[in-house]
Symmetry: C2
Subunit: 498 residues, 2 copies
């Protein structure tokens, strides 16, 4: 009886993931192939499949199975995958039955159009042009949150859809501790870093040259390109289309930034394609959304990808693609790349100050949901926040509130993930070093297998079988803290790069 | 009552097209984005949606509606779009209810894998490696044909799924007349063309350079690139993903061939995106499959794209991308491009001898279905046919039976479309010239609007609302004949290029 319920539940979840896959493919295709005039019909198609997936969840058969699953305790499940599958299905059922289908379709169609509107507003450098879209989007997300759980603050509900089980008050506390620590480091190194000569980074390049270099550098880390397709579009991204099928894109901008975007999206892809067979079988492939995913991305981008040891391997590749750097010492180039310099742009921010950027968005979102602000004022609020945090003011919309695609794509309640992801990364690093004390040495030798294996064993393979909290505590033996990431930053900026 | 039936029928067909769209997108993505290890799961996803679409067709509600539609006569329909919608739904219903779902899923999955096997066999230059795939494919297609209509010869059934209403015996008669005419022209010009100096075509090029040139030349014809995305993959193709959303690809091979592939696939795309709003509304977008589609593609590729008038426009673009041609006269370059020379390769064949290549495949397929041959012997049969038709023998599998992707992608009973498409093109040209006697002059002046409009008015806009025979006879006032195409070839090779 229980086994028959489980089989049915598994089948439903697997089919739900098929719907995810076509939506993922259509989402990626928005950037990679969809024609300008193809958009309205695409919304119809996407809306149709959104409804089909919801209809399946809302069918009486699913309700019956979910009711049975909800009666079960942990002891009733064969293994953690079965338990994860059951919980994932119950979670989806709750979302589907609480949020009206019309609203879900409306939101999906809206984000499809809003992303293109964002692109146009960015081209026009006009926040004014973006205003109606962002206003509509925040309202839609609020209505969605209220439908999902009218008894919790809407912002908490949205953050929970991204970072399952998140406590936003706890996140705010972690952020306060992190910010204080970052500012303390920054004050000690600011002048020294301001003096770094970065002219060595200036170069001409072609898209192809930059892509090939970034690809080759990413491959150094033992990346499996048979599980991921890469391309170049307006905005770096990673989309999981299937259990062994990720699409990564680097943006067209910036030569060296492309390397770090590739490593970042490659980290997402790695977590995306590394679910084990049991996780795949149970419809739990692709990894946990939010901070855990960002944590993997930022681990490869920064903790590995911005280490001096890694640049011992990467720099010869750079020199191959840019022969004019043959006579530039690695240290000079690397220090230029590592320059810490408070800036206006999140994606290109240095590793130290990066964490403060998503905190600004997180605070802006929180204030809006608390009824303190209007989206029409976001450009001004943004300017004020940047002035307060970094002492810098954006000169236009492109430098300011238009720089991220996230709100247009419906990612409200998402930004905390980046900064939390950094904290996850620092905590995982601390744990890895217990098993692999010569972590830095392994990177220097290009021996990524044991590092990749540790992350696979402790995080990647489980897919969505456990909650983020469960995965973190199983992997590191501790609840989340900002201290390990701060330790890592202090070690890097105050000792290694001294 | 009738109106309610019509509304329901329309809704079902529209939804069937949504399924077509995701299958189209997944099909295109096979080449454009799918990771190597993503294939097995992709088969699951594609199979799931194949079944969903079939389930909808086989549902009792659909059966009831189809039964009502089948009772109706032409006078019961409001317009030709409603009639076309009803007929299209009945046709799909018949296919769905006759061909077992398992077989349809098996065929779809098989072709997904067989195309990659074809790619690998092509790389390995081994027909041996391809043998099991092609054998399995022909058997599957035969089973499918027998399921669809056990009372008709299997090959006729397959050809009818491509060229609706085709009479294969009539096609064979048209081909015999065409072949005789082509050989007669060939005999008159063979020696003269053998003497043409084609060394002017030799050049180095990059993929980007070639793509940009081909794109710009295609745009000369008034192509709407807001309805089509272009890329470069292993094999030229066009996939209609939505009513205003086509994907065209040129292959990586050959510099000047890329121009003609772009014009060819652009012709497909144009027919694909040009359905009028009523056709779209009724789920009839994208154009008629088979010969009518190939006819549009080959019209733009050849009748327009290989005319001396068009090269007056195209050659300056070529010279822009290849400045070393600045001092080469257009006539010299054009005549080199136009050289008629019997060859082993269909896609790169000259316009005159091209038609004979698909006829070889058509005959091979027909003989197999008549039980006269085995697919294991196709490499040998191919060699013998080329020897007989052109006096040439392929030196390896790449030059021979591995050159086309079609059988691997399930296109058995398709090749006749190319040659029939040429006949459609010739007949349409004859009809256009009654309205636009200065057809050649319009091209020379780059005035494509009236030509595009004529094709839109008489062919493109209707989508699938009528049968190919109905469209042709409405547009030209005559049944299909090979004579107009032969007239065109004679005029071109014996008069204009004399």
């Amino acid at each position: 009886m229980a086994s028959k319920t489980m089989e049915k539940a598994k089948e439903i979840l697997r089919q739900q993931r098929y719907y995810d896959s076509v939506q993922g493919l259509m989402g990626w295709d928005l950037w990679e192939g969809l024609s300008a005039k193809g958009q309205p019909y695409r919304s119809e198609v996407s809306g149709f499949f959104t409804r089909q997936a919801l209809d399946q969840l809302k069918a009486p058969e699913t309700a019956k199975i979910v009711a049975e699953l909800e009666e079960m305790g942990d002891g009733d499940f064969e293994d953690l995958y079965q338990r994860g599958m059951a919980k994932e299905l119950c979670r989806r059922y709750a979302m589907a039955t609480r949020a009206p289908a019309d609203l879900q379709v409306e939101l999906r169609n809206y984000t499809g159009k809003a992303q293109l509107a964002w692109r146009d507003a960015l081209e026009a450098n006009s926040f004014e042009q973006y205003k109606p879209w962002i206003a509509g989007l925040f309202e839609l997300k609020k209505r969605m949150a209220e439908a999902i759980d009218p008894n919790k603050p809407a912002f908490d509900v949205l953050c929970d859809t991204v970072d399952q089980g998140i406590d936003t008050a706890e996140a705010a506390r972690l952020f306060a501790g992190l910010k204080a620590g970052v500012v303390e480091i920054l004050n000690q190194i600011r002048d020294r870093h301001a003096a770094i000569d970065v002219s060595v980074l200036d170069t001409e390049y072609t898209h192809q040259q930059r892509r090939d270099m970034a690809f080759e550098i990413n491959m150094l880390t033992g990346f499996d390109d048979k599980c991921a397709h890469d391309s170049q579009v307006l905005h770096g991204m990673c989309t999981g289309v299937g259990p062994r099928d990720c699409r990564i894109a680097i943006s067209y901008k910036g030569c060296w930034g492309g390397v770090f975007t590739m490593l970042h999206e490659g980290g997402h892809a790695r977590y995306g394609y590394n679910s084990n067979d049991q996780a795949v079988e149970n419809g739990l492939w692709g990894g946990l959304g939010g901070a855990m995913h960002e944590g993997q991305a930022r681990f490869y981008e920064n903790i590995i990808g911005k280490s001096p040891e890694f640049w011992g391997l990467a720099y010869p590749v750079v020199q191959k693609y840019f022969p004019h750097l043959k006579n530039v010492p690695m240290e000079k180039f690397y220090m230029a790349l590592m320059q810490v310099k408070p800036s206006l742009h999140r994606i290109t921010a240095d590793e130290l100050t990066y964490s403060l950027h998503p905190i600004i968005r997180f605070e802006m979102e929180k204030d809006w949901f608390d009824g303190k602000t209007k989206t029409d004022d976001f450009e001004e609020i943004w300017r004020a926040k940047y002035q307060e945090t970094f002492g810098l003011t954006p000169k236009d919309a492109r430098e300011g509130a238009l720089q991220d695609i996230h709100w247009a794509s419906g990612h409200v309640g998402y930004f905390q993930s980046y900064t939390l992801g950094n904290l996850y990364g620092g905590q995982l690093l601390h744990a890895i070093k217990k098993t692999l004390p010569d972590f830095d040495g392994l990177i220097a030798k290009g021996e990524f297998a044991p590092i990749n294996q540790w992350l696979y064993d402790n995080v990647h393979q489980y897919g969505r079988a456990m909650t983020p909290k469960e995965v973190l505590e199983k992997a590191t033996g501790e609840v989340l803290t900002e201290q390990y990431f701060l330790d890592y930053l202090r070690e890097k900026y105050l000792v290694k790069l001294k």
